[in-house]
């Protein structure tokens, strides 16, 4: 299979001199289209930094990231914005949604950025809400939804733009374990049904078990990259 993410000798340092911290230390790895990959490791191991670098939210000090064959370091700010808009979906830990917009509007937002016509947007919003099990709740503002429901809307928004990759930085961190598991199950279902590549970070052991590939990070290095053949169905 072809690679959707190709990372080579990627390094990211913070601070200078004696206070310098190497968050990502010459990491090289590839992720294929349609994978359901977890980046795991303790706090400070570099999970979020790696996801930020993959998503072009942060700039590396050296090395390269190729997304769908394109070197993101060579893109301008606007090109990167457009690339993220069209080809990458993001899910963050919390406060993912724009609070003044309803669930429907949050999902519609990214399609609006893509310039999709209104009628198509509305159709796809309902489709996405159905997909994440929130039909009938689209008019609610984020404050009127539970944490789990908010993350489902975030997933729906990430899916709405029909991206090739969805990057999720500890998407279950602020959810109770039951809700977190349900969210992961839903993400895996979307991965299987829609073929979207999911890369998410977590340090929750229960969540890790759902992933088909586990990339263990420790001190900015890939300590272990393994296939999880025993992934919980």
């Amino acid at each position: 299979m072809s690679m959707v993410i190709e990372i080579e000798n990627l390094t990211r340092k913070y601070g200078k001199g004696i206070g310098e911290v190497v968050a990502i230390n010459e990491i090289s790895l590839n992720i294929e289209y349609g994978e359901f990959t977890a980046i795991i490791g303790p706090s400070g191991s570099g999970k979020s930094t790696l996801l930020n670098l993959i998503g072009g939210l942060d700039k590396s000090d050296s090395g390269s990231v190729l997304l769908a064959g394109r070197d993101i370091a060579k893109m301008s700010g606007s090109q990167m914005s457009d690339f993220r808009r069209d080809r990458i979906g993001f899910i963050f830990q919390a406060y993912n949604l724009i609070p003044v917009l309803s669930a429907e509007e949050n999902i519609e937002y990214i399609m609006l950025l893509q310039g999709i016509p209104s009628v198509k947007r509305k159709e796809r919003v309902q489709e996405m809400l159905f997909l994440v099990g929130l039909e009938g709740l689209g008019h609610r503002r984020p404050s009127e939804l539970s944490g789990g429901q908010q993350q489902r809307v975030a997933v729906a928004r990430a899916m709405a733009s029909k991206p090739e990759i969805i990057l999720a930085d500890e998407p279950t961190a602020n959810l109770d374990s039951k809700t977190g598991m349900a969210l992961l199950d839903m993400m895996r279902q979307l991965n299987e049904d829609q073929g979207v590549t999911f890369v998410f970070s977590t340090h929750d052991e229960m969540i890790m078990k759902r992933a088909r590939r586990l990339i263990h990070l420790r001190d900015g290095l890939v300590a272990l990259d393994e296939r999880n053949s025993n992934a919980t169905p």
Binding site: S48, T49, N52, G55, L57, D58, G77, S78, S81, D82, R84, R85, D86, I88, G89, F90, F92, Q93, Y95, N96, I98, P99, V100, L101, E105, E108, Y109, I110, L112, L113, Q114, R157, A158, S161
Partner: protein, 406 residues
């Protein structure tokens, strides 16, 4: 459309802050409109005070007369000028005058005055002389009647019917002349220099005692449209001037007043600028607070693909809404205040400024352009003020902002 909705809802996320910011902007708008109205009213009164009291909106006189008010510089044959004035559609009215500095004396006192010989009927349409009478009667054409300013009358200790002697010299021969008059009326214009230094007799009497035939020193003019008074395109400015005549509008006659009007315009501009800068700082502060509170949210928006220009546009839209809301309430409040002030006037007490007496109640009139121009400037300046926060928001680095927020 979604961005407009988002911006609109964003400004109501912190209602207290929005109310305070809008109050600041609206207050600035109200103050600047009212100050501009007051200044317009006062300058209007000042111009009217000068042009309607005695000066007229324009004057025709012998070249050099106004430099030293030399009585020898008079228009000896005003007939041709008067026939031109009669046929000019722009001219509403005019009044010929003989003006001679004289000594005035009563049984008790004497002083110097400027003696005006006026055409009673035409003068009543041109200046406020008739309406300024506070005691006695206006000139009827009788040879020995005289109108006296209130303050000079008090100084001379004379009243209606008392005898007054005018001492002066014949204009062409310089022979001393003395003429007896009776006070027929006391006038009060307001400005001290008029009420203590002016006396009025009939034009024909003045022409006779100063022996100048039908000559006059000055013809004061008022126009159908006073706003055109200083327009060089008017016929009288183009056709009348010659080697011996000068024709000038009130701005040229009163250069000090013109300079003062420019100053008032400048002072309004300075005050408006200061007010709007203060209000703009409030807007900048408010928008920055709002951005800092939403750093994570803006970072997420940027992360999912909103371009920097999209983020900047959102912030500018919020600034625009703040300005529009402020202007809406500012205009309503100003309109209500305007109705009240137009009915009651603005009471600043009786005062005299630059030779013009202001009434106790200054009439206030708000105009449509004030309701349009100033709010337009407010919206424009608020948008300008929002540019810096908008650029700041557009430059948020998602990864850093997310880390800071968490």
């Amino acid at each position: 459309m979604l961005m407009i909705r988002q911006a609109w809802r964003n400004i109501f996320r912190n209602i207290r802050r929005t109310v305070l910011t809008c109050t600041l902007i609206a207050s600035s708008l109200i103050v600047i409109i009212l100050v501009d109205t007051l200044i317009n009213s006062m300058t209007g009164l000042m111009v009217k005070g000068i042009t309607e009291t005695i000066e007229g909106e324009a004057q025709i006189y012998h070249s050099g007369f106004r430099d030293q008010y030399d009585p020898e510089l008079y228009i000896s044959d005003p007939k041709s000028i008067i026939s031109k004035l009669d046929s000019d559609d722009e001219i509403k009215t005019y009044a010929s005058r003989v003006i001679v500095p004289s000594m005035i004396g009563s049984s008790y006192n004497s002083d110097g005055v400027v003696l005006y010989g006026v055409d009673a009927e035409k003068e009543s349409n041109t200046s406020r002389l008739q309406s300024a009478i506070i005691e006695g009667d206006y000139l009827s054409g009788s040879d020995r009647e005289l109108l006296l300013g209130r303050l000079i009358a008090e100084k001379l200790e004379v009243g209606i019917g008392d005898r007054i002697v005018i001492t002066s010299s014949e204009i062409n021969t310089n022979q001393m002349i003395q003429e007896l008059f009776r006070v027929s009326g006391i006038v009060q214009f307001g400005p001290k220099e008029l009420d203590e230094g002016f006396a009025f007799i009939n034009l024909s009497t003045a022409q006779r005692i100063f022996n100048i035939g039908e000559g006059v020193h000055q013809i004061a003019i008022r126009f159908n449209n006073p706003e055109l008074a200083n327009s060089p395109d008017l016929d009288i400015y183009k056709t009348l001037p010659s080697d011996t005549l000068e024709v000038k509008g009130w701005l040229a006659l009163q250069p000090g007043l013109g300079a003062m009007l420019e100053m008032t315009g400048l002072s309004t501009l300075i005050m408006g600028t200061i007010l709007f800068i203060l209000a703009s700082l409030g807007v900048v502060n408010s928008i920055f607070m709002s951005i800092y509170e939403r750093t994570y949210e803006l970072a997420v928006s940027k992360a999912i693909g909103t371009r920097p220009s999209g983020i900047a546009s959102l912030v500018l839209l919020e600034g625009l809404f703040l300005a529009l809301i402020s202007c809406f309430f500012g205009i309503i409040i100003t309109f209500i205040l305007g109705i009240f002030l137009q009915e009651s006037g603005l009471s600043l007490g009786v005062m005299e400024f630059s030779g013009v007496a202001f009434p106790d109640n200054i009439p206030v009139k708000l105009t449509l352009d004030q309701y349009v121009n100033f709010p337009f400037y407010v919206v424009l300046l608020t948008l300008v003020a929002a540019i810096y926060p908008a650029i700041f928001a557009a430059r948020i680095v998602p990864a850093q902002a997310v880390q800071k927020a968490l």
